[in-house]
Amino acid sequence: MGYMCWSSEIAYSGGMARFAADVPTRGGFSFDLCQRNEMLLKKGNQLPTFRKTGTTIVGLVFEDGVILGADTRATEGPIVADKNCEKIHYMAPNIYCCGAGTAADTEAVTDMVSSQLQLHRYATGRESRVVTALTLLKSHLFSYQGHVSAALVLGGVDITGPHLHTVYPHGSTDTLPFATMGSGSLAAMAIFESKFREGLTRDEGIKLVSEAICSGIFNDLGSGSNVDVCVITRGQTEYLRNHQLPNPRTYVSSRGYNFLKGHTGKTGEPYIPPNPRR
C-alpha cells in the first residue's frame, strides 16, 4: 500500500562509493548518503517517524459519473484533532480529490495542482481533464520520492467520460471502477467488493459509498465522525457535506454537570505547597 517507508533509502545502498569530485552529477536519485545511513542505523540511530492521519476515503463510478466519499476525522496519533474536517478537495469544477495521509501534504498538493489546472484552462480555453490532474499529481509526488505523504482518490467527469484513479505517495497510479484508500480502506473495500456492480444509479451509488465510509468509521480507529459525499456528473457537481451524521453527541445533561466536594477520591498523601522562596 502507499505507506511511507524510510527503509527504501537503505534498499539502494551498497556498490561503489563515487566521490563527488571526479564525476559530474547527472540528475536522478543521489545515492551518496546511503552508506552513511546504513552506518548510523547500525549504531542504533533511528530515523524519525512521520505523523500519519487515519482516514477512510472511497470512490466509485456509476452510470452518470463518479461518486467520492470520505470520513471527517483528523487524528494526531491517538488524539482526534478535528472531528469534522473536509477531506474532499476541489481540483476543478468537474474534478474532486479525496486525500489520505499527512493532512498538510494532501492540502498543499491538491491546492497546487488545482492552481495549475486553472492556468491550464486559461491557456487552452477548455474544461480540465482528469488525466491532466492525474499526471500533474503523479509527477510531483514521484519527484519527491514518497516524502510527500499524500494518498489520493481522484475522480471527475470530463469530455472523455467519467474517470476514477488512485494515486500513491511514491507516484504510482491505478485506474479503477471503485477504489478505497487510507487506514479504513480494508473495511470499506470489503463493502465494495461484495456490493459493487456496474451501472449503479445515483441513489444506489450514494448509499453504497455511505455504507463503505460507515464501515471504515465504525471498524477503523483512525476514521470516524461523519460521512462526506461528492457526486460528479456531466455538467454538475454536488458536494454533500456531512451527508450522514452517524456519531451524534449523546448523553448531554441539560442541567449541566455539578461535581460536589468529596466526589474526587484522595490518595491519602498530604499536600505540601511549593516553597515560594526558591
Partner: protein
C-alpha cells in the same frame, strides 16, 4: 535633437529627463489598433478592433481580449506577442495570490503586479519595454473597475479610456457620451459607437471584439452573434 543621442539605451536618462525608449514604446502603442474601455454603474466593457492582415486569416483563431481571472479581463493596443507574455505572468501571479491568501485577487492588486512587471523591463539590462498598453477590466468587492497600464509601468483608474490609433477622437467622443449612471448595456452601445467613429470599412461581429463583466463577476468575451445583435440595436 539631443534626445536622440540617448535613445540607444533604456537605462540612460536623456538630458530632458526622459527615457526615450519608453517614449518610443508609447509610439508603438499609438500606432496599434484602437481599443477602449467604459466603466458602467453595474459593470465594465472593453472593446477593440480586430483588423486581420488578410482575409485569408481564420478570425476564430484570434482572440485579443483575454481572461486574467474569472472576474478580470484585459485588452491591449500595440504588440500582440508582448501582451501575451504579460497576460501569462499576470495569470500566474493571480494564482499565487490565491494560493497564499485563499481569496481571489482584487483588481487593484493584479494591476499593481502587472505594472510592476512592466516597470522591471524599463530598468533592467538587455531587455526592452513592453510595446503594449493594457486596459484591465474587473468586478470585485470594490465594484466595477477599469485601469490602464502603460509601458512605463504607470497605471491609472479610468471611467472611460481609449488607446491606439484613433485615441484623441475616441476620447473626445467618450467624454461627450459618458455618464456616471450608465448601465452595462448602454456602455456596450457607446463602446460600439466609439469604435464605429474611426472604423474603416464595414463594422461587424467578426472584426471587433467586446468583453464584459457584470455584477455576476464573470468576465466573458461576447460571441460574434451577440455583437451583431448589439450592432443591430445601435443602428
Amino acid at each position: 535633437m539631443g534626445d536622440s543621442q540617448y535613445s540607444f539605451s533604456l537605462t540612460t536618462f536623456s538630458p530632458t529627463g526622459k527615457l526615450v525608449q519608453i517614449e518610443h514604446a508609447l509610439t508603438a502603442v499609438g500606432s496599434g489598433q484602437t481599443s477602449l474601455g467604459i466603466k458602467a454603474a453595474n459593470g465594465v466593457v472593453i472593446a477593440t478592433e480586430k483588423k486581420l492582415p488578410s482575409i485569408l486569416v481564420d478570425e476564430t483563431s484570434v482572440q485579443k481580449i483575454q481572461l486574467m481571472t474569472t472576474n478580470i479581463g484585459v485588452v491591449y493596443s500595440g504588440m500582440g506577442p508582448d501582451s501575451r507574455v504579460l497576460v501569462r505572468k499576470s495569470r500566474k501571479q493571480a494564482q499565487q495570490y490565491f494560493r497564499l491568501y485563499k481569496e481571489p485577487i482584487p483588481v487593484t492588486q493584479l494591476v499593481r503586479e502587472t505594472a510592476a512587471v512592466m516597470q522591471e523591463f524599463t530598468q533592467s539590462g538587455g531587455v526592452r519595454p513592453f510595446g503594449v498598453s493594457l486596459l484591465v477590466a474587473g468586478y470585485d468587492d470594490n465594484g466595477p473597475q477599469l485601469y490602464q497600464v502603460d509601458p512605463s509601468g504607470s497605471y491609472f483608474s479610468w471611467k472611460a479610456s481609449a488607446m491606439g490609433k484613433n485615441v484623441s477622437n475616441a476620447k473626445t467622443f467618450l467624454e461627450k457620451r459618458y455618464t456616471d449612471d450608465m448601465e452595462l448595456d448602454d456602455a456596450v452601445h457607446t463602446a460600439i459607437l466609439t469604435l464605429k467613429e474611426g472604423f474603416q470599412g464595414q463594422i461587424s461581429g467578426k472584426n471587433i471584439e467586446i468583453g464584459i463583466v457584470g455584477a455576476d463577476r464573470k468576465f466573458r468575451v461576447l460571441t460574434p452573434a451577440e455583437i451583431d445583435d448589439y450592432l443591430a440595436e445601435v443602428e
